[in-house]
Symmetry: C2
Subunit: 333 residues, 2 copies
């Protein structure tokens, strides 16, 4: 079997580390693995499988002989270096917001819109974590009943804000105090919820909320779908939760048929009755957990559900590696 030379930009980050683990554990056919990071991490040693790798500093010349480059070091880094990877002949799978909304760049969740996967522009974008778990949960509903509108409120873990935020939360949590003054240097994650993720954009919405709205429309290939979101940080280390209201286009869908349809989705685990999907249980799991499924008391085509997913796995690294697997499988490279 053909093997590929891989470069990982942001290899020391939370998502970069998971990508390395998954490539190894899922037996991705790789040959050379080049781990790239900022100058600060240069020379660090990393064990993957039975081999030890040394972190290299990312430069414009890092991509010689690279077949597939994973970018996961923030959108500014992607904007600066993706074109160097493309010029060196690599296919780029970008896990940042840099190119997601560009018209000709496919934005892919393999279980949802694999048919949109193409490599003619050289870049495939990986959606935002909070978008991925929502479209995973709703895809079969969309396909079978149509979706009129979605209203989501999120409960997002601090790992979505990176390793430093996880450390800040842990430090705040273990400080044996609920005195908030001592945390004044950092955002107060512990004992708090923060109703703002990413920067404010326009009309009072944040970047994270607009990502959920715009990316979902692009992935579902449906500009007419009505979506709104409120994105909130909670004191959880890993795994995002979402309270989702969805209205189907089809009228009078029964709860039974709705639940049955959710279950048709590969990669989704449906929790029935009183079983509760929770972040502590979803962490390190590959599936998207869906539970608390119930009809709206007033709107016959309205349903509520609760969706939990490890934001570092299916919300990021796993989806990225799955995209690479599809490219190889479809012989697009």
């Amino acid at each position: 079997m053909k093997k590929f030379n891989i470069a990982i930009v942001g290899a020391t980050g939370l998502v970069g580390e998971k990508i390395c683990e998954l490539l190894e554990n899922r037996s991705f056919p790789y040959n050379n693995l080049t781990l790239l990071a900022s100058k600060r991490s240069k020379g660090k040693q990393v064990n993957i499988g039975k081999r030890t790798y040394v972190i290299e500093q990312l430069t414009k010349d890092s991509f010689h002989n690279t077949d597939i480059a994973f970018f996961s070091a923030g959108s500014e880094v992607s904007k600066e270096y993706v074109h160097d990877a493309l010029e060196a002949g690599a296919v780029v799978i970008d896990n940042t917001s840099a190119f997601r909304m560009e018209k000709d760049i496919p934005l892919i969740v393999p279980e949802v819109n694999r048919e949109m996967l193409k490599v003619d522009k050289g870049i495939i974008a990986n959606p935002n974590c909070s978008t991925i778990q929502m479209v995973m949960a709703l895809e079969k509903i969309r396909k079978h009943f149509g979706i009129q509108r979605i209203i989501a409120s999120t409960y997002q873990s601090v790992s979505g804000a990176g390793r430093k935020s996880m450390q800040t939360l842990k430090k705040q949590m273990t400080s044996n105090s609920d005195n908030t003054d001592e945390f004044s240097q950092d955002q107060q994650f512990a004992y708090n919820v923060i109703p703002k993720i990413d920067e404010f954009t326009h009309d009072g919405y944040t970047g994270e909320e607009l990502k959920m709205i715009e990316e979902t429309k692009k992935i579902f290939n449906d500009k007419e779908i009505s979506i709104s979101a409120t994105c909130v940080r909670v004191p959880v280390l890993t795994s995002h939760s979402e309270s989702i209201y969805v209205e189907t286009k089809k009228k009078n869908v029964s709860l039974h048929d709705f639940v049955h349809t959710l279950k048709l989705m590969q990669g989704v685990k449906v929790f029935e009755q009183h079983d509760l999907p929770m972040p502590v249980d979803a962490t390190n799991k590959e599936e998207v957990f869906v539970g608390r499924i119930r009809k709206d008391p007033n709107y016959h085509n309205g349903f509520h559900l609760w969706v939990v997913c490890d934001n570092l796995l299916k919300g990021a690294a796993l989806n990225t590696v799955q995209i690479a697997e599809c490219i190889v499988e479809d012989e697009l490279i």
Copy 2:
């Protein structure tokens, strides 16, 4: 000025303590104060203002000479002892779910439906915390524009589950570990969100969710209003947050008029632009904080808002004491 003999059932609980503090700090005209609790707390000493009180054990004979009895020790205790207080001639202000939905018992948030206050049955019910902050935020919207529907997702603090749950969360938070196994005896509050508050009832809804739905209809005196809720516990000690979607009956309400109308409400503090209402800031405050106010991108009469309130104060003890103040002011006693 006439002074009243007060009894507080559940005086050692989180809400009972706050009621005592508020009666003193707001100079409620009280004479004798009888602090009642279970046998376990009998004999404990409590300082209120400059006086020291001794906790007495609640019995059927606890209410001699009581003018106003505050009940805040769970609905089972209310169901057992409220009638003894009534027989002794007291007016009961009940902070449990025991009588809230009974047809002839008024369910009161003074700023919202003071006109429904009457004492002919002897019982006035105090609504659930998550209901109070929602109706406080939405009352002027209802009055000026009408409300078609409400969809709420809550982020509720553990103090709503009582003192033991606060201690459990603190213990879990300070244990310097995110190993979940060690918490297996208790609910895992730390590093987690739990999408269930109160017991499951019917159609997949929990008691807390039905309280928000049914109590809001009763307080707004509007059976037609469409309400749904998803109630979730988060690792916060005090203050509940709510992500609320509301659709007005009036079409084409401008954001400016919507915000202006929210500001008309006494007891509500409106956060404009990028100011964020958060639990750490709302705790120990009397106001209901409202922010993140924005129009739905798709529905012209749809608005989103973020509502935070100290669940022990306006969500419980403060509202209870305000009800007593209204009874005195209106000379209903």
